[in-house]
């Protein structure tokens, strides 16, 4: 299909437009409507993930110094599970859903039929570049759409591997990868899509939605926010600390949309928590945490600079109670804890997306909910408590994408565990 030529030519608006037209014509031929086509593509994705696991792990390590463990478990296994589930359930998902009718619609029968939207665009981020690229693509294919994937250029090794793998394993007449940065993404966003799925930050999310609005294209925005963890007294602090460490530094060094961003606790709980966290951190990553191989590095120098700026702000730099060490050459920042940061500091107002964990102290644990609701709604919120009433208050009062009580991040993985 002349894919080598495509790599050397500039991907501009004209190229984007003709690619979309090709895909739309192919979609209109009806090829994606069949169960066979969809299940074949899904099986090929599964095969691709199994056969090329090492290549994927290598690329992720190159892009993020991601430990093999995180790559295999968080990215590849999760993707394989999503695929397996789709393959298993596809026949059922494709069946029309019968619904009841009543007298107001007179004697009649009714059903709801799912049909593909057409040609969809998936724009994926750099932090879980394999999983967050292919997972939405699995959904798009299962529902019978043609798909264009634009992976993040910041995770360049994974981006070019994805382009290669999609070419090799999948039906190129309906599934494509477009590599590139702002220029290529803009060219893509100028086109009319039937749906756009964007995972990333709020700033670019607004640009995507505004571009989509011109064509009345519906969007799926997976953004982030500051995911808080509220820690109550009288809980098993050791277990809570362990789960917080896992849900912060164990998740791509905090560079995860559902990672714990900051903690809310009363002063006395905060002090005990700091000790517990220090203890668990040493257990996980040893004494010299900056050098640990079990921690991802910061993705690039821009983000490194952004994070050090958060740490170096005057009102915050004196609040470090653990860590703070950096290695600019290797783009590493040690697991860092800050205590009692002021509410108007930068670190309390931007999504951190890194290995810095501020603890914000409150008078009473119930005040935490007001603090959370004073900001924009986060993707996830966590609560550690044994108090039933507090749990109920949390569920009612806090608006977030998802809530998890007494653990972190697991609600995203829960489907896979199924224990």
């Amino acid at each position: 299909m002349g894919s080598v030529e495509k790599e050397t030519k500039v991907f501009d608006s004209e190229a984007a437009s003709s690619m979309v037209k090709e895909l739309r014509d192919e979609f209109m031929s009806g090829k994606t409507r069949s169960y066979e086509w969809r299940v074949t593509q899904l099986k090929n994705i599964l095969k691709m993930s199994e056969d090329r696991e090492q290549d994927i792990v290598k690329a992720l390590h190159s892009d993020l110094a991601k430990p093999e463990f995180e790559s295999s478990i968080y990215e590849i296994s999760m993707l394989k599970n999503a695929c397996t589930l789709a393959i298993k359930k596809l026949k059922q998902w494709m069946k029309p859903e019968k619904v009841k009718t009543s007298l107001t619609s007179f004697p009649s029968s009714a059903e709801i039929v799912s049909e593909p939207l057409g040609v969809v665009l998936v724009i994926s981020p750099w932090n879980y570049p394999f999983l967050l690229s292919i997972d939405p693509v699995v959904g798009a294919i299962a529902s019978g759409n043609a798909v264009v994937l634009k992976p993040s250029e910041i995770a360049s090794a994974t981006s070019s591997l994805l382009a290669k793998l999609v070419r090799e394993y999948l039906d190129n007449s309906l599934i494509r990868v477009v590599e590139g940065a702002a220029a290529e993404t803009s060219a893509l966003l100028e086109q009319k899509w039937d749906k756009i799925c964007y995972t990333g930050n709020g700033r670019v999310g607004r640009i995507v939605m505004a571009a989509a609005a011109k064509h009345l294209t519906p969007v799926l925005l997976e953004l982030g926010g500051k995911c808080p963890a509220v820690v109550d007294s009288s809980i098993n602090l050791k277990v809570a600390a362990r789960r917080i460490v896992a849900g912060k530094w164990g998740c791509n060094s905090g560079q995860t949309c559902v990672a714990v961003d900051y903690i809310l606790a009363t002063k006395d709980v905060a002090l005990k928590l700091v000790d517990a966290l220090k203890h668990e951190l040493e257990g996980f990553y040893g004494k010299n945490q900056l050098e640990s191989k079990d921690l991802s590095r910061i993705v690039n120098s821009n983000h490194f600079a952004r994070l050090t700026k958060l740490l170096d702000e005057d009102k915050v730099s004196g609040k470090i109670v653990h860590g703070g060490e950096r290695d600019k050459a290797n783009l590493k920042i040690a697991p860092t804890i800050l205590l009692d940061v002021p509410q108007d500091s930068l670190i309390m107002n931007e999504e951190i997306f890194g290995p810095l964990l501020p603890i914000f102290t409150v008078e009473k644990v119930e005040n935490s909910f007001d603090v959370i609701n004073s900001g924009t709604k986060p993707l996830a919120a966590y609560l550690f408590t044994d108090n039933k009433k507090l749990k109920e208050q949390f569920v009612m009062a806090v608006s977030a994408g998802g809530l998890l009580i007494n653990d972190t991040v697991m609600h995203v993985i829960l489907l896979s565990f199924n224990f």
Binding site: T104, A240, D294, S416
Partner: protein, 426 residues
């Protein structure tokens, strides 16, 4: 007339009220829904009058389309509220802005616990002003506001509908043909004179069937609207001068004018256009490229009825496709080879009344959906809640990483319970 500043202040107050949590309570939601029911019962006469004033709509049509459906939806919402609110999902309401005449979206928004700002169309001033006074009397003023006009606030109107086609297959039984034509005539002229997003826009028939259809339609129109439809009070008026002139303009094109086989007369002063039928106006004319939204019905003739699929696909996706046929193959093909908000076989408009079916568009006809429980869901955020105990733990999910943990997790992910046990036993 509100200023932008007053509106922003009102909005701030509403957010504050919402954050106090009152609207989340089931009792509050029920009180608002009951308030709406009372409004509809006590103000029925006023509503019927307002719509007669705005649109010349007959009382029966108004009751059918505006009051009756709302009562039905309110009863459903009241009955189902506990169920919708309970159990596996936690609904997280917000603040909803609604810009429609119909109460349907507002019912969903209130059932889901939102505060609501309603901006009725300024094109229907009597109805808008009635809504404003009635709502402030019957509902919680701190949570539900109606704004009629705000200076400097440019309303964004998404005119989403499209050209809803009706495909009319050659039906063998004369009874079936009569029923089909009757339903088509009502689905065009009996629906706010064609000014409805799901009204039939145009029809597709086979050439050999055209004459029969046209003759039947003429007689049905006479039956439903009398010899002089303007005097019948059974057909609505055009909403205003601007739209009347727009419709009059569609007929101006000489080729379009020549294709008119029935009706066509326009009474500007009384904002009335009589039921009009056209056969094969040119496809590039505005009447066939733009959504008509009025009582003009083009009939497009085809060699075979199956060609209707390609014809429909050559246009942007419509909100509704109507297909009159007993041919199962054609029915199957219509579903799988076209895309639209909905497909209705052998009737028109009724899909709107079915609460168990989602109402909404796709592509050019819009996105999102409501009616019945779909309304409740549309104005809700379905928040995922997960709970864990402190007791059970999978130690192998914590670093430092080693091969042993790797194997355990790999087994877990593959649901390989036996493998998991074996690795643990080492």
């Amino acid at each position: 007339m509100e200023t932008l500043r007053e509106f922003e202040r009102d909005l701030g107050e509403m957010r504050e009220y919402y954050s106090q949590g009152k609207t989340k309570e089931a009792s509050w939601r029920k009180s608002q829904l009951k308030g709406l029911l009372t409004l509809l019962k006590e103000k029925e006469g006023d509503i019927l009058n307002a719509l007669m004033q705005d649109l010349g709509k007959h009382q029966v049509e108004t009751f059918r389309d505006e009051i009756g459906t709302s009562i039905k939806t309110l009863n459903l919402a009241l009955e189902s509220l506990r169920e919708w609110m309970s159990g596996r999902k936690a609904k997280l309401p917000q603040i909803a802005l609604l810009t429609r005449l119909s109460l349907e979206p507002m019912i969903g928004a209130l059932a889901a616990g939102n505060t609501v700002v309603l901006k009725p169309s300024e094109l229907a001033p009597a109805s808008a002003s009635l809504l404003a006074t009635a709502i402030s009397t019957y509902l919680d003023n701190k949570a539900v506001k109606v704004i009629q006009a705000v200076k400097h606030l440019t309303p964004v109107t998404l005119e989403l509908g499209g050209k809803c086609p009706a495909v009319l297959d050659s039906l063998s039984s004369s009874w079936d043909i009569k029923v089909a034509v009757k339903r088509i005539v009502y689905g065009k002229y009996g629906c706010c004179a064609g000014q409805a997003c799901i009204a039939i826009d145009y029809i597709l028939v086979e050439k050999k069937f055209t004459r029969t259809v046209v003759e039947l339609m003429k007689s049905m129109i006479k039956e439903m609207f009398g010899e002089n439809p303007k005097e019948s009070h059974s057909i609505a008026r055009i909403i205003n001068k601007q739209h009347l002139l727009r419709l009059k303009n569609l007929l101006k094109d000489p080729h379009v004018d020549a294709s008119t086989v029935y009706g066509g007369s326009v009474d500007e002063d009384n904002l009335f256009i009589e039921p009009t039928i056209l056969v094969d106006p040119p496809l590039q004319a505005e009447i066939m490229t733009d959504e008509i939204f009025g009582p003009l019905l083009p009939i497009i003739t085809l060699e075979k009825i199956e060609d209707s699929i390609q014809f429909i696909n050559s246009k942007p996706k419509a909100l509704a496709i109507y297909c009159f046929t007993k041919n199962k193959t054609l029915q199957r093909r219509m579903i799988s080879e076209t895309s639209s908000g909905s497909v209705t076989f052998n009737d028109t408009i009724i899909q709107y009344a079915a609460d168990t079916l989602p109402f909404g568009g796709v592509g050019g006809s819009g996105f999102g959906r409501y009616h019945g429980k779909f309304s409740f869901d549309t104005f809700s955020h379905e928040k995922a809640i997960a709970r864990r105990s402190f007791l059970t733990e999978f130690w192998f999910r914590f670093p430092p990483w080693n091969n042993h943990k790797f194997q355990l997790l790999a087994s877990s992910f593959n649901f390989d319970y036996l493998g998991l046990v074996l690795v643990i036993l080492a």
